[in-house]
């Protein structure tokens, strides 16, 4: 690609997977992200927490350009998100290029968004076939392996509506992993689940974190954040209020607003 590496990233010891540089985002007159600066290293697990409307989901969606940022710059794996650099100019990428770049970034949604007219296996195969142009026979073993990994080896030929919410979300995780991404984004993956189904999804996510995947997770599950995340970021009103090691932020928050938020959810 024509992207030149960001010199600031090259000096760092570990590889930076996501970098937000003064990111701004507006919805009309609503300023949802204000001057966000953020570095996420490869292999790091980061949880974004905060009250609803704080901009955490929007920040997540800016990482894979589901939302366009209005100011600053977003980098994923040393490439500017949504633009090509040519000389001193940033050229807006075409829709097709934006989509191709997303192939490296897995995303899991609050409402699963499985394709209901396809079986579980077809859900996993679809994108590698259409986007990576891989052969079906090459994808199927990998897809079955992933289903086994999320504990749904016997559900390959089931339709999404025949599965519980927890099972659907695990399929959605497997579907994202089938693209062999280098970064996984989770947008409130357990918020639409019945309480007794939350654990099975979190377990899959924990296994994934331990396998070394870079993960950015928007969540309200404070226990998960405390036990699995390397770093917790507390956001409110479009800004990062406080961030640090998970244990420290959740057990011993320094900021008044973080403390108030944690008191209300724990």
């Amino acid at each position: 690609m024509t992207n030149t590496p960001n010199p600031a990233l090259m000096s760092a010891g570990t590889r930076t997977m996501v970098k937000a540089d003064s990111v701004d985002k507006n919805y009309g007159s609503l300023h949802v992200l204000k001057d966000i600066n953020l570095d996420i290293a490869a292999g790091e697990v980061v949880c974004l927490i905060g009250p609803s409307g704080s901009g955490k989901s929007t920040l997540l969606r800016c990482i894979n350009h589901l939302e366009r940022i209005d100011g600053g710059r977003m980098w994923v794996d040393d490439k500017v998100v949504g633009y090509d650099i040519k000389g001193t100019k940033l050229h807006e990428q075409k829709d097709a290029d934006i989509r191709r770049n997303r192939a490296d970034i897995g995303m899991v949604f609050q409402h699963f968004n499985l394709f209901p007219h396809m079986t579980v296996l077809e859900n996993l195969i679809e994108a590698p076939r259409q986007v990576l142009k891989q052969k079906k026979t090459d994808i199927i073993p990998r897809a079955l392996q992933l289903l086994k990994r999320v504990g749904l080896a016997d559900k390959a030929s089931a339709y999404p509506r025949q599965l519980s919410g927890g099972q659907q979300q695990r399929v959605a995780i497997a579907r994202a992993l089938c693209m062999e991404p280098k970064l996984m984004l989770f947008d409130e993956p357990t918020s639409a689940l019945d309480p007794e189904l939350v654990g099975e999804v979190l377990k899959v996510m924990k296994d994934l974190a331990q396998s070394g995947m870079t993960m950015v997770v928007v969540t309200h599950e404070m226990n998960f954040a405390r036990d699995v995340a390397d770093r917790v970021i507390f956001m409110a009103e479009g800004t990062i209020i406080e961030q640090g090691p998970a244990q420290q932020i959740i057990r011993n928050p320094q900021n008044e607003r973080t403390r108030a938020f944690l008191n209300s959810v724990l």
């Binding site: 997303r102 970034i105 995303m107 679809e126 994108a127 986007v131 509506r161």
Partner: protein
């Protein structure tokens, strides 16, 4: 000393009971009144000799009538096919990012929905008066409009283009009925816009598109009778040709009507089962078939354990 009846009735299994359905006298009365009225109407139809039932019987399988049916069916099928293809194209165009493309599709829909299809048919039929020579702007091509635009092509163009406008609304409603999360998930996986539409959105939109398309097909079958004004020998025009000669107007209109009813009935049955099929997964209990609902009405007793059906 007489034995005292046991205070406890012997224990019975649930299968020993039958449920007696509640009786609704009003339903039986209203049903009877309607049946009497229907019988009176039928008697009048049978005894009034001006209906000319012998003539109806004579022409019902007449060669020109049967040929007319073939033309009617062909026009319905071809016009619907054109309508569906155009409808999908126009619906996708109306959801385009390009405002010019959107406006073009909207204008098409406005124009063809805003003018009566009868007027459109007459326009196509008289196209030669507007463009005597059709060249498509290509040098060397010069086609005689009078030869190309036969009554049949005028009919197909008129009906198909008009139907495209209506179908585009149906397809658009279908596309919009698919949850936005589907397009978002496909986009997040990197699937292109075209493939998302083709593989993810349209298959799901079918559930919403198919039932009204069945209605449109039945409507189209009857709308084809309009092309009798541009002398296409479909079912109605074939009947008109005969009664213009024999003056047996009413019997031949009855012949045409009988055939229209037969064909629409067949199509309705097809549509009914198609809708049932697409209702699956939406409803836990499928709607009853007509036969099931009739037998249910005349059933007065249920076995107790059958109440509510099996689960």
């Amino acid at each position: 000393m007489a034995t005292i009846a046991p205070t406890q009735t012997p224990r019975r299994s649930p299968d020993d009971y039958t449920t007696v359905k509640a009786k609704y006298l009003g339903r039986w009365v209203s049903g009877a009144v309607i049946l009497v009225l229907a019988a009176l109407a039928l008697q009048s139809v049978v005894t009034n000799s001006r209906f000319g039932w012998e003539t109806v019987g004579k022409y019902i399988r007449d060669v020109s009538i049967v040929n007319g049916i073939a033309v009617t069916l062909m026009l319905t099928a071809v016009s619907m096919l054109i309508g569906i293809v155009l409808g999908v194209v126009m619906a996708v165009m109306r959801l385009s990012h390009n405002p010019v493309v959107r406006a073009a599709a909207s204008s098409y829909v406005n124009f063809f929905r805003g003018t009566p299809v009868l007027v459109q048919l007459l326009f196509w039929y008289n196209l030669a008066a507007l463009y005597p020579v059709i060249s498509f702007g290509i040098p060397g091509v010069a086609l005689d409009a009078n030869q190309i635009i036969t009554p049949i092509t005028a009919a197909i163009l008129g009906l198909g283009l008009n139907q495209g406008a209506y179908m585009s609304e149906i397809v658009r409603a279908g596309i919009l009925s698919v949850d936005h999360g589907q397009a978002e998930a496909a986009g997040a996986l990197g699937i292109s816009r075209f493939r998302t539409m083709q593989r993810i959105i349209l298959p799901q939109a079918m559930k919403v598109i198919i039932p009204p398309t069945g209605n449109e097909t039945i409507g189209m079958l009857k709308t084809t009778s309009l092309v009798s004004v541009i002398s296409v020998p479909e079912l109605l025009y074939s009947s008109q040709i005969i009664y213009a000669r024999t003056f047996e107007t009413i019997p031949l209109l009855i012949v045409a009507s009988i055939w229209y009813i037969i064909i629409t009935s067949v199509l309705s049955i097809g549509q009914y089962y198609l809708e049932r099929r697409y209702a699956k997964g939406n409803q836990r209990n499928l709607p009853l078939t007509p036969w099931q609902s009739i037998t249910l009405f005349f059933t007065t007793h249920h076995r107790a354990h059958r109440q509510g059906g099996t689960r």
